[in-house]
Amino acid sequence: MSTLRERIHELGNWHNKISMAAMVTSESLSGKKISKMTDKERDEIIKKVVQRLKKIEEYVVHADKIIEEAKPFLYKQIGADTEIPSKTK
C-alpha cells in the first residue's frame, strides 16, 4: 500500500509525462509544411503524432486512476464540500 505522498508523487509523474509528450508532439509538427512533405514523410509524422497522442491518453487514464483512488481517503480526512478537516480522535 503506497502512502499518500507516494500517490501524489506518482500523479505528478503522470502529469509531467503528459506535459513532456505534448511538448515533443507539438515540436515534431512545428515549422513543417505538410503540403511540402512527401507522402512517406507525411505518413511517418502522422504515425508518430498518433502514437504520442495515444501515449498522452494512456497517461491521463493513469493519472485519473490515482485521483479516483485518493478521493475516498482525502474526503475522509477533509469534508469534500465543507473543506473542513474531520475531527481526529
Binding site: H9, N16, K17, S19, M20, M23, E27, K55
Partner: protein
C-alpha cells in the same frame, strides 16, 4: 538557417522514468545537443566519471537506486565543477532550492515541465556555458 543552440555541447539527463528520458532525448537532440540519459544516480555518476558534460539535467527525487539527484549534483560539483546543473523537482520547496543553489546548481525547475520553462532554462545554461561562466 541559424545553428542549433546545443551544437557541440553535451548534456546528461537523469530521470528514472523511461518515457521522460526518451522525450528529453528527442527534445535536446532537436536542439543539437549530444544527449546521454541515465536512469539512476549511480549510472549518472558513472557517465560523469567517463565523459565531460556541459549541462546536466538532474531529477532530484528518484525512486530507482540509492542515490538522489542531489548526490549526483554533489559529485559533479566535486569532479566537474564547470558543468551547469539544472535540478528538477516537483516540490516548490525553498529549502531544497537553497540547498541545490548552495551546492552549485545553475538552475531549478519545478515539474510539470513546459516548453517555455525548459527552453528558458536551457538558453540560460547554454549562455553561461559558452561564456565560461560556470
Amino acid at each position: 538557417m541559424s545553428e542549433p543552440i546545443g551544437k557541440g555541447l553535451k548534456i546528461l539527463v537523469l530521470d528514472d522514468e523511461e518515457d521522460i528520458r526518451r522525450f528529453s532525448k528527442e527534445f535536446f537532440q532537436r536542439r543539437g545537443f549530444g544527449v546521454t540519459t541515465a536512469s539512476t544516480g549511480q549510472a549518472a555518476i558513472n557517465f560523469v566519471k567517463k565523459a565531460r558534460f556541459d549541462i546536466a539535467v538532474l531529477d532530484i527525487h528518484l525512486y530507482k537506486g540509492k542515490k538522489s539527484g542531489i548526490d549526483v549534483l554533489k559529485f559533479i560539483m566535486e569532479s566537474r565543477p564547470d558543468c551547469c546543473c539544472i535540478m528538477l523537482t516537483r516540490d516548490n520547496d525553498q529549502k531544497i532550492m537553497s540547498e541545490t543553489t548552495r551546492l552549485g546548481a545553475c538552475d531549478y525547475l519545478v515539474k510539470p515541465l513546459t516548453l517555455q520553462k525548459v527552453d528558458t532554462a536551457i538558453k540560460k545554461a547554454v549562455t553561461r556555458v559558452r561564456k565560461g561562466d560556470k
